[in-house]
Amino acid sequence: MSLYNLMRTSVSGMSAQANRLSTVADNIANSDTVGYKRKSIAFSTLVVPGTKAQYNPGSVVTTVREAISLQGVLNPTSSSTDLAIDGDGFFIVHDSDGSPFLTRAGSFVPDDEGRLVNAAGQYLTGYSYANGIPSAVANGFEGLEMVTINNTDLAATPSTFGEFVANLPQAADIVTGDTPSSNLATTDFTQKSSMVVHDNFGGRVVLDVYFTKTAANTWEVAVYNQADAAPDTSFPYASGAMATTTLTFDPANGRLATASSTQIAFAVPDGVTVDVDLSEMTQLATDYMVIATDVNGNPPAFVESISIAEDGTIYASYDNGSLQPLYRIPIATVMSPDLLQAHSGNTYTQGTDSGDIQIGFPADGDRGRVLSGRLEASNVDIADELTSMIQSQRSYTANSKVFQTGSDLMDVLVNLKR
């Protein structure tokens, strides 16, 4: 028991409250910072051993707590590259030196090189689709690269497969003369359709597909290049049929007989071989009716816009209407997010007690999903901060009163001797 100890204890109380006021100041200052996590101070006692008869005042020690795992409100924005995580986890960003950080601040915009950079100047990273479908490296940052969505010109994709589904009229007359496979001016056919395929350069090639009933339940299929067609009559084409095949139908149900061919394959000029699936063709007593016609492949195109799916896949949509995945954004989690080491720019690194960083894809397990066009607001509540501030102020004043009392007593003591 001593007056000095009393004064020291009150000083520790004042400095603890000042510490708390500092977090309040930081919280209020960052109340509108995207991805900011509220900080607070936890107090604990420090006891100085005394005797039964004598109490030795100790002091108060402070620990900073961060509410990193508490999700803020996800506010809608109008930019598709504004990202937020709904659930647990962090984006992995690189600073300009290439060191990895974790963050939940997803206000990304493309820079002059097409990299997605956030307000703190950090670049979003992801796994590239350049070498096929990526998989996440669970315990390290290997394989992550900066997401760059510029100059990603799409090479034209030649057609390789397709499907054609139609009903051939069962009651059609049998063609007895020349059929399309003979490619003569006198050729007769029952039905015709056409479909577009793409060559190696992405050019469009229109193919004429002829269906000719040659016998009961038997149809000849012939494919020609429309560019070779003679004016008006089409036949004879400048070059012969690209492919022909024969479909036989089961009289029991109007579907293809088991022995029938179920596809037609042909080489596109300047392109590759296309297999067109005909297995769903039917021959029923109704009109010719095309039910589905679809061929893959696409012409060359430029990136029109970027869209980001909830599973973290960044798609580029091209002006020809095709969609290509470019990157997949991973999400990092740790056992104890609140104990991560904070850095400037709302970023975190692994702390001593946070546990190891685990990387995986969004929506896997307890990882959150990625929402495009949304930003996570800070989780600071002004009202909360203001009440903390008032409390701190009162506590600080009380501590100073204790100090003043100690000082007054010392004064009395010093003045005992004149």
Binding site: S193, Q226, E304, R374, A383
Partner: protein
């Protein structure tokens, strides 16, 4: 939950109400737009507390398909009906005064008057004059028919151009829809535009659609592909001019010939099929009927060898470029109505003698029937008059063949056209009614209901007020708190 969260949610609510109001305003703006499909803005929940608006388009796919099918049939039937009205006014006139039948009856009357006093040369002249009127009527009618065919051909050509143009516009619209779908942007306006184009196309040809990935659409007309990734070519070679023997060229969609409709209640769907039907069936039948009238006249007024000496019958009062031999009996000779003429030997205006009609002998002395030169000889004239009432064989290819007298065949031609026209007109009324009915059902389903929109606007106004009130309340609470800090 905290005050700040409450403030954030109220702010989001203001944003949502703003977007919902803009949807209501778009709806109201387009309330008179028949190609517009009503939208509604729906709210979805999202953690924690934030709400987003997704805009839905209230399309009714089945009704729309039904309405464009009815539109195809209706536009075909209206085309047939209009063309037949036009043909009737040109070939028959309001009361039949322009028909070949009326001219034939006048000629018949003139012939009877002449036969009652065969010595009167003036009556002979008047009979020949009636014959000339009749021939001119046949010539005029025939060229009107061919002019109509030529103008229909021009119309087909224009319609084909319009169709190609629509298909290329459809390509752009379809691409916009696909890109929008992929990028996840608002494609409702593009969908409206594409549907409007689809309607225009279905007026011209029947269309059925196949949906593909990313809202891509394939258009099929009958069996022919109209649009698949790219528009297909629709080709047509217009004929510069039409004669009775001209065959119009076909319209080809992706190389496949477009079929013409049949029947007065036409099977055609879309204007092209209907125009082809009028050009290749209706007008060809009418021309055939006129040609048969012309052939009947040449045949009935032919000169026979009175002595029974075996000389062949030769063309008399009425002749044609192939005369004096008679055209083959029982079959239509295309273009005869255009080329039939009155023999100049009978025509006083060209120095001819109308008395030949009474006496015979235009083909030489061997064919003179009035060998004595009697001025009162009327047997021949009476016989001609009777022959017009006697049945002869007409070609069935003209639509009204069989054994008929020339007078009743000519009258039958008029009633055939009138019957076709009135049937077409009735069918047009029926199909129009069906189309209007389907369209009004579709509009009721997808159109904008102003009452609904206004009440929605009131709701939104209340939500906005409430949100604004909430913001004020939170603000006041924070004010109180700030006042506590001194």
């Amino acid at each position: 939950m905290s005050l700040t969260t409450a403030l954030n949610i109220a702010q989001t609510s203001l944003l949502n109400v703003g977007r919902q109001t803009s949807v209501v305003s778009t709806n109201i703006t387009n309330s008179e737009n028949e190609n517009y499909t009503r939208r509604s803005a729906a709210l979805e929940s999202l953690t924690p507390g934030a709400r987003v608006v997704s805009i839905r388009r209230h399309a009714a796919l089945d009704l729309f398909q039904g309405s464009i099918r009815a539109l195809s049939e209706n536009s075909a039937q209206q085309t047939i009906s209009n063309q037949l009205d036009n043909l009737k006014s040109v070939l028959v006139g309001a009361d039949g005064e322009l028909s070949a039948s009326a001219s034939l009856t006048k000629f018949h009357d003139a012939l009877q008057v002449y036969s009652s006093s065969p010595s009167n040369g003036l009556l002979g002249e008047s009979a020949v004059q009636s014959a000339k009127d009749l021939v001119r009527r046949l010539n005029d009618a025939s060229s009107s028919i061919q002019n109509t065919r030529a103008s229909i051909d021009g119309e087909i050509s224009g319609t084909v151009d319009q169709l190609n143009d629509l298909l290329s516009k459809f390509y752009d619209a379809n691409l916009k829809v696909m890109n929008g779908t992929i990028a996840g942007s608002d494609i409702n306006d593009s969908l409206d535009h594409r549907d409007a184009l689809l309607k225009e196309i279905s007026k011209i040809v029947p269309v059925s659609t196949i949906n593909r990935e990313n809202n891509d659409l394939v258009l099929v007309s009958g069996g022919a592909t109209l649009f698949e990734t790219t528009p297909r070519n629709v080709t047509f070679d217009a004929q510069p001019a039409y004669g009775p023997t001209t065959v119009g060229s076909a319209v080809r969609v992706d190389g496949i010939q477009l079929s013409a409709g049949t029947g007065s209640n036409t099977t055609a769907k879309g204007t092209l099929g209907a125009l082809l039907q009028v050009r290749d069936t209706v007008t060809v039948n009418l021309q055939g009927q006129l040609d048969e009238v012309a052939r009947g006249l040449i045949e009935q007024f032919a000169e026979n060898d009175p002595s029974g000496g075996g000389l062949p019958p030769l063309a008399g009062l009425f002749t044609y470029p192939g005369g004096p031999g008679l055209p083959p009996a029982g079959t239509v000779v295309p273009g005869l109505a255009q080329s039939i003429s009155v023999n100049a030997l009978f025509d006083p205006a060209e120095g001819g003698n109308p008395a030949l009609l009474r006496d015979g002998g235009a083909n030489g002395a061997a064919y003179v029937e009035n060998t004595t030169g009697a001025a009162a000889f009327s047997d021949r004239l009476i016989r001609f008059g009777e022959q017009l009432d006697k049945p002869i064989t007409f070609d069935g290819a003209t639509g009204i063949g069989g054994d008929k007298s020339l007078l009743s065949f000519a009258a039958g031609s008029v009633s055939w056209l009138e019957g076709y026209r009135s049937d077409a007109s009735n069918a047009a009324a029926t199909k129009d009614a069906l189309y209007v009915r389907l369209t009004s059902t579709l509009t009721a389903e997808t159109g904008v209901n102003l009452d609904q929109e206004m009440s929605r606007l009131l709701d939104l106004e209340h939500t906005f007020e409430a949100s604004a009130r909430l913001i004020r309340a939170v603000d006041e609470m924070l004010q109180d708190l700030l006042a506590a800090v001194r």
